[in-house]
Symmetry: C2
């Protein structure tokens, strides 16, 4: 049985911040990545679509990079939300992060057709800046390792976006 | 007038290697990134689709990462193809690369609705391993810098993919 993320941070992003193609619940065409707690680690589970190929049988790297990216911002939001006294599922509006940098090391070809599981560990660099170290598994195979530096979304982002 | 890449390396990938969601011409749903020479630099031009949002008005980072990724493997293929005495447009089958690592630094929010231009410089690390340094521009704005280490596709990739 596929694991599920019951309470995801993205479920509670304010509507204005829920349009990301990777993880926005309001972006109909998008991936709808959902990130929650699993003990002290963060987890995002996603099964790539039939088209998300590198070659037949393997997932294309851009999808893995996108997963690590949104898993990173979601994980940082989970940690700061908890630090602020909240958990996803309570209905409190979480903070929203953007990616400053994204690093991905592709360890093995990622098999297509099964769920991918991104597992993250978050470290606070600064009250508004977090580093998220992620491993992406396909079943038991470690396919990619990633690192995201996520920062609290600057207000300029919203002003320009409106 | 939008710039065009006339002769792209991806136009001549063998059919078995033309299924990538990012840059495969046979993947109907994909982005169809196309990478060619512009002087001694490589270039890929792509206009994100309406759904490719981070927030309304801005492109999501996963798309920028995907662009840098496929631009990187395409650029490495261009360089090795030239080293082998060929140019895209001649009809010779080019080499095919995979990504070993992908690093992206997001410099500024990427505006949505205009073409993005990835410009790359390629350095040979080893006869089968190339480093591609890329800048992504939206008009005159440098939005992201990336680095891809690309390696000639190992034969295991195809065996497993069949």
């Amino acid at each position: 049985m596929e694991e599920l993320v019951l309470n995801a941070i993205q479920d509670e992003y304010p509507a204005d911040f829920a349009w990301c193609y990777g993880c926005g619940r309001l972006n109909e065409a998008g991936h709808h990545f959902r990130t929650g707690w699993n003990g002290e680690k963060t987890v995002t589970i996603y099964t790539p679509k039939p088209d998300h190929l590198a070659l037949p049988g393997f997932v294309y790297g851009g999808l893995v990079a996108s997963l690590i990216d949104c898993h990173g911002t979601g994980s940082a939001a989970l940690v700061l939300h908890r630090k602020n006294g909240h958990e996803p599922g309570e209905g409190a509006e979480p903070p929203r992060f953007v990616t400053a940098s994204l690093n991905v090391n592709f360890m093995k070809p990622t098999p297509h057709g099964i769920p991918l599981k991104a597992v993250g560990i978050v470290e606070e660099i600064h009250p508004k800046k977090f580093k998220v170290t992620t491993e992406v598994y396909a079943a038991e195979t470690l396919c990619a390792k990633g690192e995201v530096v996520a920062v609290v979304m600057p207000s300029t982002f919203v002003q320009k976006g409106e």
